[in-house]
Symmetry: C2
Subunit: 193 residues, 2 copies
Amino acid sequence: MRVSIPLEQAYKLLNHGPVTLVSSAHGGRRNVMAASWVMPLDFSPPKVAVVIDKGAYTRELVEASGELVLAVPARLMSAAVLAVGNCSGRDGDKFAALGLEGMSTAKVGAPLVAGCVGWLECRVIPEAHNQQTYDLFLAEVVAAWADERVFQDGRWIFSDDPDDPLRTLHYVAGGQFFVTGQALEVSPAAQAA
Amino acid sequence: MRVSIPLEQAYKLLNHGPVTLVSSAHGGRRNVMAASWVMPLDFSPPKVAVVIDKGAYTRELVEASGELVLAVPARLMSAAVLAVGNCSGRDGDKFAALGLEGMSTAKVGAPLVAGCVGWLECRVIPEAHNQQTYDLFLAEVVAAWADERVFQDGRWIFSDDPDDPLRTLHYVAGGQFFVTGQALEVSPAAQAA
């Protein structure tokens, strides 16, 4: 069900702007946080940019390990996405506290969060000025995975059901999300003006 | 219909990961491109990050002026979003070629693209290394606007109609979009695990 994705397709997991979970691990500790401030940065080799606040426990683990995983949660994970933002990994392992399962990775030490539908294993590109001044982390994607029920041949293929629990999510604020909605195919000829 | 938005709410126009139009102007010339690789970078003062390729005509105008506008197009603009990516401003004014209207701004020289539902006027924060190495531009938001039909009191309020032409868009690739879908409100108590 989880399949490896060619690296040149990795950006397509994030291109539509879904909310993500950032998982990290170092020295036998692990953590997970939610992040909406994430975007692709390059196609090949694929790179991403993500904002990780100085106060976040994730920040310590990412800086110590030089690694992170971005996961794209499905709608069925919406309560978990909110919950990971309402507690700190400093108070105990969030995976255990929230009943989250960590799955094995190919290239990095941080776990993949089960119940998501896309994952990007990343190595941080050290850029101290960006990290210190803007809380901005740049990273290279070194492995990518997707749930083949909703991502095939380099594209998201959600069912027609708007309530499909496998649709991805977009975060607003204060517990509010939008579900990824209708697919819309536009041909260049459609621009009549 | 277009109303000024408090700067501290500006990030909410981008937080759900919509596709954007980047408009720019310098020396009597103007241009517009589509960009999905955009994210909020800070709350207050609000900042954004956007990737602008070295080959883009927009890049010249943004570097020369130090300014840009990010606009959030509604579904009714989907053909235009695709069209601005299929021609170059070097071959003539895209606004005229595509029937786009530029609206007046408060703080920067680049026009607001009419038909969008949110706009952020931005001044580039000079970061030569990011620009040269990653095509990554950081900018401070100096004014923000929204269409009050769909953004009120700091939140998007789309109608229940999934086909509402004022819903925002998320870009995938090759003319494929997702429309911003159902609103989903999650309470922290919903995490039972």
